[in-house]
Symmetry: C2
Subunit: 344 residues, 2 copies
């Protein structure tokens, strides 16, 4: 879904990206479960989206090496040869990695990313798995190969949380932070606060399509923990991975817990927190009027810094278009890095 949103975004904004930022990306290869489309002359975004939506895979795009254009080809009639694929990929500047996150071995994202870096390609990842399991070593690999590694879309979706903490607060020392980084569990807890039973709230979230296929990623806090790892590495300079997070999900939260908190004018939220070198994901109670206390699927994070006090950013944490806009930000960053001459 993210790939498709990105293709649509790049197409709809082609003119202003070129005029405003000098960005004219050429998509030379795209792959999905069903196969691959490639063309060193550049694939046509609209045609890619059409192939995916009508035939279920970009492999239906048709053969490569013939220039993009909109000429329609038979269903996979001339799929790219291995040589064409290798040629398209080997000449590329950037890999955009969008395969689903898993926190067991992080594949296939891990191999995609490390292979690309070794081939001196810059990498944009919205897949959290490889970062959660191996942020410090991926960062080293990128530095060793002198490539840029960006992952704005992994935390906060379209809300530029990573960039805010790193750049907008430059010159400032962030001492701790705490965030609501998983929209699904926040939706469930918000529904429970309005009186739903845990079971009904979960079912409601499932019906709305908020719950991941592997429910454990949301309910046991793994998704939030992965984001916490990324934040801790990126913002605090900690060299940590998933096993460093003390992680408790929301399965144990009862309606009684929520009522008890409400009596003290507090709400139960699953926060991902970093402070005193400890990383914790757990349901906690926070005051009802705390800016962090957002409802529904919103994400929120509060950074406490030495001199600027506590600052909170709130925004939608997910969504195809939002994540695509984060990828676009990363591509703009990489383009700037390339033209500045600092990178190959």
């Amino acid at each position: 879904m993210v790939g498709r949103s990105l293709a649509k975004l790049l197409e709809s904004r082609a003119d202003d990206l070129y005029v405003g930022y000098g960005l004219k990306p050429r998509i030379v290869a795209v792959s999905d479960n069903g196969g691959m489309a490639c063309d060193t002359a550049g694939l046509d975004c609209a045609r890619l989206v059409r192939a995916k939506e009508q035939k279920g895979t970009v492999a239906a795009y048709g053969g490569g090496g013939h220039g993009g254009g909109s000429s329609s080809k038979g269903k996979g009639s001339s799929s790219p040869t291995a040589a064409e694929m290798a040629e398209a990929v080997s000449g590329a500047d950037v890999l955009v990695e969008t395969t689903p996150s898993n926190y067991k071995d992080a594949e296939p994202g891990m191999t995609n990313i490390t292979d690309a870096m070794k081939r001196r390609m810059h990498v944009v990842s919205v897949n959290k798995g490889p970062l959660a399991l191996a942020f410090p070593s991926l960062n080293e690999l990128a530095a060793y190969n002198r490539v840029m590694f960006r992952f704005s879309g992994t935390v906060g979706g379209g809300t530029p949380i990573l960039d805010y903490a790193k750049n907008s607060l430059s010159g400032e020392r962030i001492t701790s932070f705490s965030g609501i980084l998983n929209g699904t569990t926040n939706y469930i807890l918000s529904a429970m606060a309005e009186g739903m039973s845990p079971k009904a709230a979960l079912q409601d979230a499932r019906t709305k399509g908020y719950v991941e296929a592997d429910e454990s990623l949301d309910l046991d806090g793994l998704d939030a923990a992965a984001k916490l790892v990324i934040l801790a590495n990126w913002i605090m300079g900690m060299k940590v991975t998933m096993p460093d997070v003390s992680c408790t999900g929301i399965r144990g939260v009862t309606s009684a817990d929520i009522k008890k908190a409400a009596k003290r004018n507090r709400v139960v939220k699953m926060t991902a927190a970093c402070g005193n070198d400890a990383l914790t994901v757990a349901p906690v109670t926070i005051p009802r009027d705390d800016p962090l206390c957002v409802n529904g699927t919103l994400n929120a994070i509060s950074f406490t810094s030495e001199h600027s006090g506590t600052q909170t950013i709130i925004g939608r944490g997910a969504g195809g278009t939002e994540t695509a806009s984060a990828i676009l930000r990363d591509l703009l960053y990489i383009r700037q890095g390339i033209t500045s001459g600092a990178y190959g």
Copy 2:
């Protein structure tokens, strides 16, 4: 107060600013109502703060041109000569303008800023007056003289609202925004929502020192309007000044208004909004669970963008230390611009 906070901040962080950012600022001249201290070799921050706190003016710092050091001098015994002052000022790279804002003629800030720019000095201003009355022309003057003009501390205090919208959301189109940009009126409206009469709430805010000497700046929305003008110019590229804002303060808001809103689960807030080319400061009602709905003296602003949805930033909008940290951010930016070779 801001100047003193800045002196303290620069002193307390001297080591890490030098190690982390290569920044080692030399303060060559400081002036206040009582006079001036200057020394081309650099003034000593701790001694400046002492002079101000003990004698009420930096003029008590003692003569310049003798190197900083901590040797104590008689009370203004050797105040700087006109020649020493001129020498110190003419060699400076940056003016940090911190005089109070006024929206009639914006003096003395306006003259300070334009004089400095004409002398090819970069300018950091936390004074909103000149920007509110003449943003477009000040911006042109800076470009003409090839100097940098920064003003992070004018909106949001230590919360980097301007930077966030400009940089963290780069590649994104902000279509509208709405913010609570004046902490004093927000404090009064919050107190009224808790049952205080308008009169008692105002008195409470006065007692706590939240209300400006010229109450009209807060109560009639002028402070919020000035910030709105700065945001509209900086973020939306509009060339506007104070007279372009339709501005209504909170003097007309009654307890009945607030109760009526509460019945519909809404709250009365004075927002500064930009949308459809219109700039408006006025008390409006917003839903109680809107992220913008912050209490007390907090500031909040929601940006709506084309692809990343609505994002809200919340933080303290004022305070000496917070504003000093914003000035420091601007100084770091300017240092980077100078070393990059883009500026003289």
